[in-house]
Symmetry: C2
Subunit: 209 residues, 2 copies
């Protein structure tokens, strides 16, 4: 296996953390998103949607999309589990993971992609050019703050996002917090549960991946 | 088990089709999204994110988010498989399902929620009020058309979205096509592969669910 990666970007980091938790070490190939390598002919054959991460399997096929890659890695190496070990636990983890992706990650992405200069004509991932929508960036910023409040409340009675097990939902939520700093949004001062959780998850060795 | 449902809405339909393919029949409770029942105190305890579908498990816990519910149903009753039977097949199906959700479903939702009168102050799912962004609706419309072209190309060499097996990716993609009709977007005239596929998947008995 081989991972097409971009060290500074949030989405490939989610996969790197997932692998680090499982002790999976594979070759990585850096794609330079800053210079537009993802739009080049070579990479477009690997992922026509112009995004990293992409996992190249041993049969030469390519799997893109963070969740699909993580699920594959969990199927291939179940321990330690990051998607849950019983049907009920898995359902709860996947539910929270969906919520974190839609309410947290997508909101930061809206704020980031619709304001950052170098994404002026690439406000949507992919090869087609879409102009930025400043109002959407503002909506994104409000939604991130709403998400932080909701997550703080959730973490008042739960050690981790999906209850008492560190999971893919924590990985994505932690990356959301770090990604939010790119648009100068930080954890609310009085979000004590969120801060306790963030300190805990970002103190794991995998967070450096 | 019990499904909190809303017959006309696209997201619960995805779960109903998934269950119909597996022959799973459970009690459903209709939530009237039109009159705002999802914002009421009773339903907010079931899903604070004010959305259907929600699956109530036999232990009384609630699972929201379409993908989490479908994964639970697949784990509970694996046959016929809609998420894939080998690690590689599952990865491919999940990859395509993510792409269909992000590039198709989210785009139609942007077009719909940012123009429909009754969603004037609810342009984002949930209890918090966000105003509509007309430019985002327009972007959504363009993205749906881009998605249809991409899917047509994909289906030129593949019977189904994720290759040769009917899967959750087909269910979501078919619902995207029907949902797009709500904003008066139809399949491109010359999208012969897409039309062939749509006729096939919407002719399955489950499509009526």
């Amino acid at each position: 296996m081989k991972l097409y990666d971009c060290k500074p970007a949030p989405n490939p980091r989610r996969v790197r953390i997932f692998m680090a938790e499982k002790g999976i070490e594979i070759e990585t190939v850096q794609i330079d998103l800053g210079s537009g390598e993802q739009f080049g002919e070579v990479f477009m054959k690997i992922n026509p949607d112009c995004a990293v991460p992409v996992l190249e399997l041993d049969d030469g096929s390519y799997i893109s999309e963070v969740f699909a890659i993580c699920h594959y890695l969990e199927d291939t190496q179940p321990e330690p589990s990051l998607l849950g070990t019983t049907n009920e636990e898995r359902a709860r983890i996947l539910m929270w993971h969906c919520k974190v992706e839609q309410q947290g990650l997508a909101a930061v992405a809206d704020a980031f992609r619709n304001t950052t200069k170098r994404m002026k004509d690439h406000a949507v991932t992919g090869s087609v050019s879409y102009p930025q929508i400043p109002e959407l960036a503002e909506r994104g910023r409000s939604r991130v703050q709403e998400f932080f409040l909701k997550l703080d409340k959730r973490l008042a009675d739960n050690e981790f996002v999906a209850r008492d097990r560190y999971s893919i939902a924590d990985i994505t939520a932690m990356v959301v917090v770090d990604f939010a700093a790119w648009v100068k949004l930080s954890l609310p001062e009085d979000g004590i549960n969120l801060r306790r959780w963030y300190e805990s998850v970002s103190g794991r060795p995998s967070a450096a991946a």
